[in-house]
């Protein structure tokens, strides 16, 4: 069956955007309806993203869609809103949808603790729309717009509990996010001033013609710093350890699982590889930022006593791995980085959901206060173990394979020092996740938890789904699946500016 991507591609943004405005209308009474509608929306997004992934494979190359079929060319410059579906966007879409589905499934019972559920889902959907737009757009300014949609809804979601620490965290996040956004906007303005284009492919083309100069480097560095804040790379990370733990658990899962990747890492690598073009110096900057994040995040996670805060620092560390590997710029490195990005989306959202499950039943996030919970919450305990083993890189879970690839890629590129750092931090990662296991789930059950029960079924389902994915995703390395999922994503980046341009420009005519 031939899949008509042109028809269904805009749905990836339209469904969540539409739902984002419909759901809040349901008000306070129809909360169950809101649950069902939100879950249906995310489930349909999962199906849609998989169809798009498969459809793109059938087509073989990338697909470009022009919003409303509207496009004008003036003075050689293309104006219009275009969406580009290539291997990387397709992979990101699937990740966003899967994690969103798991999170909405988890939310339906978890959000019983909060009021204003329909507003919550509304913001949730807006955030998805922002992320989907961000990974699909082929235009710098639209990138900024979608990025802000996702970011603004996440500011509100972090503060959703309206407790003082949540508001404080949200405020910090908001301020730092705004600093970042102004960097990004300024940078886009600088680019438009110099090159007179906003379409990424065209921007890349003109940049290649005119060559790199101080102006474009200034814009790139501002973009890197701005997106670095969104991706929480050290030293731009400081908002994350406050914001991620303060949000409701399913939102933490979304933030750490996909948001920092979709609006942070994805945007960085798209710009670096497909607009500016990877250079050894840029690669080195990414590697240094990545390694710094890896070390700082990992070492600080060791010292956390708060379950979710530990996970938040661990996200910084893991994003570091992703950026380090992609910064290598070798095909193996990019593949390893993207694979780790995908794996991290799954296991980190799983871990945040399990932390939410523990908090749901015990009301605490402090690891010292827990203990022996595996006896009372076997499913949570086991899925958390799976998540911990995955992130720590214990075979046969998915994290092991991406860790293996990252280390091999570093050594193969002759980056011994980075490889050694990656190895050491992987041991540190194992150490702090074993601390989680030891303090929360093993040991003696405290008397006050004698009455604790396992979480409701839908929450269990959501965690089990992600845990199964943690085991199954190792298979993505098997050549058959690798060629379908990871390699197209890798090639989308590795083809560089020229390849991206050719793909997009040859398709400029279609859909118009």
């Amino acid at each position: 069956m031939k899949i008509d991507i042109q028809t269904i591609l805009p749905l990836a943004i339209a469904i969540p955007l539409g739902m984002g405005f419909i759901l809040p209308l349901l008000g306070k009474k129809l909360t169950r309806l809101a649950d069902v509608a939100a879950n249906l929306a995310t489930a349909s997004l999962v199906c849609l993203s998989i169809i798009l992934l498969v459809g793109r494979l059938q087509g073989g190359g990338a697909e470009v869609y022009w919003m409303g079929g509207w496009r004008i060319t003036a003075g050689g410059t293309v104006f219009g809103i275009n969406l580009v579906l290539d291997g990387l966007s397709a992979l990101m879409l699937v990740l966003v949808s899967v994690v969103s589905f798991a999170s909405t499934l988890f939310s339906s019972r978890y959000m019983d603790q909060y009021t204003g559920r329909s507003k919550y889902y509304g913001l949730f959907m807006l955030m998805i729309a922002g992320m989907n737009g961000c990974v699909l757009t082929g235009d710098m300014f639209n990138l900024f717009v979608f990025l802000e949609i996702a970011a603004v809804s996440s500011y509100a979601l972090v503060a959703f509990g309206c407790e003082s620490d949540e508001l404080e965290a949200s405020f910090k996040y908001l301020i730092l996010g705004c600093v970042a956004s102004s960097f990004i906007l300024l940078s886009i303005a600088l680019l438009y001033a110099q090159f007179g284009a906003l379409n990424m492919a065209q921007l890349g083309e003109r940049m290649a013609e005119l060559g790199v100069n101080k102006g474009s480097l200034l814009a790139l560095m501002m973009l890197l710093a701005g997106l670095g804040v969104k991706a929480a790379l050290v030293p731009f990370h400081a908002w994350l350890p406050d914001a991620h733990p303060s949000a409701p658990a399913p939102i933490s899962a979304m933030l750490s699982g996909v948001l920092i990747k979709a609006i942070g890492v994805y945007a960085i690598i798209r710009v670096v590889f497909n607009v500016y073009g990877w250079t050894p110096e840029l690669g080195m900057a990414l590697m240094v930022l990545g390694t710094l994040s890896m070390i700082v995040g990992g070492v600080l996670a060791m010292r956390q006593g708060d379950f979710k805060r530990l996970l938040a620092y661990s996200s910084i560390s893991q994003i570091g791995y992703v950026v380090l590997a992609i910064g290598l710029g070798t095909p193996l490195g990019i593949l390893a980085g993207l694979f780790h990005l995908a794996n991290h989306a799954i296991f980190k959202s799983l871990l945040f959901l399990t932390s939410g499950a523990v908090q749901y039943r015990t009301g605490t996030r402090q690891l010292d206060e827990m203990g022996g919970l595996a006896q009372k919450m076997p499913i949570t305990g086991r899925t958390c173990l799976v998540g911990s083993m995955s992130i720590a890189g214990i075979p046969p879970f998915n994290g092991f394979f991406s860790k293996l690839l990252i280390i091999i890629a570093c050594v193969a590129a002759g980056r011994w020092g980075f490889a050694l750092c990656a190895v050491i931090i992987s041991i540190v990662t194992l150490a702090y996740f074993l601390k989680v296991q030891k303090n929360a789930f093993y040991g003696k059950l405290k008397d006050k938890w004698a009455q604790v029960r396992e979480v409701p079924l839908t929450m269990q389902c959501s965690m089990v789904l992600l845990a199964v994915l943690c085991v199954a995703m190792g298979l993505l390395l098997v050549p058959g699946l690798r060629e379908a999922v990871l390699e197209p994503a890798r090639d989308a980046l590795y083809q560089g500016v020229k390849g991206y341009q050719e793909v997009v420009m040859t398709l400029l005519g279609s859909g118009g």
Partner: protein, 625 residues
């Protein structure tokens, strides 16, 4: 292609899944799955071992020719040769014996459940996979996976077992990361990942790869400085688990890897710097660990230190790089697995009876546990290297290998190594005199903290202990015919310079001497001594602490009176020599500094962002033309 290789990995894994599904329900059925599963795996393992003698094609299992496997189609994944074959069979046998022991030793819902047997089977499957791996990636997968069931098994133990489990998992997890680093080094130098490459170690990268793999082997087997998890685990994990993993199967895997890389994957120069490094670490391990063992007051912790010390002999033997040394090291590993698991099992039996594992509170158990006592004495003599038991023969081979190496390379290093090895053996004997005396002989503890008397050894426990103790004797007396001739020499090759040692003749003479000693003892005055409890003024004072001496007291001289040793002991207690503790301290120190930087002030954070941007701009924009 032989599917038996796949079966020996898959069958225990599937059965482990079934046992897990049983969970805490139907404990009888869970035990049955455990027993039948390990027995079945043993049968499969022995069949796989036979395949090793066949053609190369017969001895491998390749991935099927499925389209979606792409380039991985028809890759050989599992392979068996003489070395991995007998180790596999041995691992399966240990698993079976441990399960038989557990059937009667492990009671109650806490342990006698599907999880326990499931984890044992999963660990066995991982061990089988690691032993049969044809390349380093497969090895690393099974190697790393093995930590998980082991970790979960340790978590079923006594108080503080979680800390020990965490430590074990971190160290073995680190060993898996080192394997990955080694794999990276191999690939970066353009080598294949097969285990049979015979790669030269002359350049730095390959020497580094060899060291990575050796470090992984050290961590698993417990060679210093990556040993520190073993005493902790030995003290707190359930006894069958200790006997199964750190005492036998972990040693098997660690030494397998060390022997494999020394024999087949790399070619190391005997007496070169790599070989010397291994030997020096081996010698340090022997002496340092046994010195720590001397002062222990907990039976299982003491045995745990011996489990480290003995690894030193294996590393020393393999480090010589000669066939004799490698054969000796592997043989010592096999012997160690036998007597150390036997010792842990006897320790479990004694502990169950006495209700405690503290040496000072045990004593006089030989009356209640005669079979345990006999097995413990045999295993203790074997570990101390008393002829004609198996431990003697393998140590003898290691000594000879060191001497042989010294004769070819000269220098003084070999003398130091030899002295360390012999000295370590003497200290081992000294510490086992303490064990046997304070646990089985000596006076019974009647003090205020006496625990209620526990049950005697069950049938399954006795079977396992007797089989292992019997193996100590048989492998000693018929060493050339059975273990060396059938298992080890086919794997390593026959060494040329093995001096003659006639175990059978020597056994005859030793038995004669013992008989003579008995006659003298019986004819002498010994039997006429009257034994009675202590009385003062007609009152029974045998419960008074002063009226009882514990064998452990004799050894206090070492830790209290000798100034140099005392300082070392104090530092060891503070974990100055423990890589794990040092690393932890370092990370916490760095973390403390970083944490102080995270003040929580928004302005600081904004300043970082701006500063980060400034640095980026300075580096890129000002550097460009």
């Amino acid at each position: 292609m032989s599917n038996e290789l796949l079966h020996v990995v898959a069958v225990p894994l599937v059965l482990a899944g079934i046992a897990h599904l049983l969970g805490r329900r139907l404990s009888i059925l869970a035990r049955l799955v455990g027993l039948a599963g390990t027995a079945l795996t043993l049968w499969l393992g022995v069949r796989v071992w036979w395949l090793a003698a066949g053609t190369a094609e017969k001895a491998s299992w390749t991935l099927p020719n499925w389209q979606w496997l792409g380039t991985l189609r028809d890759t050989p994944v599992l392979h068996v040769d003489a070395l991995s074959g007998f180790m596999l069979a041995a691992a399966c046998l240990f698993a079976l014996l441990i399960v038989i022991y557990s059937l009667s030793s492990v009671r109650g819902k806490e342990l006698a459940n599907g999880y326990f047997y499931g984890h044992i089977l999963a660990a066995l499957a991982a061990a089988a996979g690691a032993l049969l791996a044809n390349d380093f990636v497969t090895l690393a997968i099974f190697w790393g996976f093995m930590g998980l069931p082991f970790y979960l098994l340790i978590n079923m133990g006594k108080e503080n077992c979680e800390a020990a489990g965490k430590k074990m998992f971190i160290i073995t997890g680190a060993s898996d990361s080192l394997l990955l680093l080694g794999i990276g080094l191999l690939l970066a130098s353009g080598h294949k990942l097969g285990l049979y490459g015979e790669i030269a170690t002359s350049n730095a990268a390959m020497a580094g790869a060899f060291l990575c793999f050796s470090a992984a082997a050290f961590a698993k087997a417990g060679g210093m400085p990556l040993h520190s998890w073993i005493p902790d685990v030995a003290e707190t994990a359930p006894v069958p688990v200790v006997a199964f993993l750190p005492a036998s199967v972990d040693k098997l895997l660690g030494i397998y890897l060390l022997a494999r890389i020394s024999l087949h994957s790399f070619s190391i120069t005997p007496g070169g710097w790599l070989s010397s490094l291994l030997m020096i670490l081996g010698a340090i391990t022997i002496v340092a660990a046994v010195t720590m063992a001397l002062i222990q007051h907990n039976l299982r912790r003491l045995l745990g230190f011996h489990a480290v010390s003995q690894v030193g002999y294996m590393i020393l033997g393999i480090g010589t790089g000669s066939i004799l040394g490698i054969a000796g090291g592997v043989f010592h590993m096999l012997n160690h697995a036998i007597y150390k698991s036997c010792l842990f099992l006897t320790a479990g039996s004694a502990e169950r009876r006495a209700g405690t594992g503290e040496l000072d509170k045990m004593g006089g158990l030989y009356k209640a546990l005669p079979v345990t006592f006999l097995a413990a004495v045999i295993a203790a003599l074997a570990i101390s290297g008393i002829p004609p038991l198996n431990g003697f023969f393998s140590k003898w081979m290691v000594y000879q290998a060191v001497i042989e190496m010294g004769q070819t390379t000269g220098g003084w290093l070999w003398i130091v190594l030899l002295v360390a090895a012999v000295f370590g053996s003497a200290l081992t004997l000294a510490s086992f005199v303490k064990v046997i005396h304070s646990v089985f002989l000596g006076q019974e503890y009647k003090g205020p903290e006496k625990a209620p008397v526990g049950p005697k050894a069950g049938l399954g426990m006795r079977i396992s202990m007797v089989v292992l103790a019997g193996a100590c004797v048989v492998f000693g007396i018929w060493a050339m015919q059975l273990p060396l001739g059938r298992m080890i020499f086919p794997a390593t090759g026959i060494p040329t310079q093995l001096s003659i040692w006639e175990p059978q003749l020597a056994t005859g003479l030793i038995l004669l001497a013992i008989a003579a000693g008995l006659v003298i003892y019986l004819l002498g005055t010994a039997v006429k001594v009257r034994r009675d409890d202590s009385y003062v003024g007609g009152a029974d004072v045998s419960a008074e602490p002063d009226m009882r001496f514990s064998a452990a007291d004799f050894y206090q001289t070492i830790s209290k009176e000798m100034p140099v040793l005392r300082r070392l002991y104090v530092q060891a207690e503070k974990s100055w020599y423990d890589f794990y503790a040092l690393g932890r301290r370092l990370i916490f120190y760095v973390g403390g500094g970083l944490r102080a930087l995270h003040s929580g002030l928004l302005l600081t954070y904004v300043a970082w962002c701006v500063l980060g941007l400034v640095v980026l701009l300075w580096l890129f924009v000002s550097a460009s033309k």
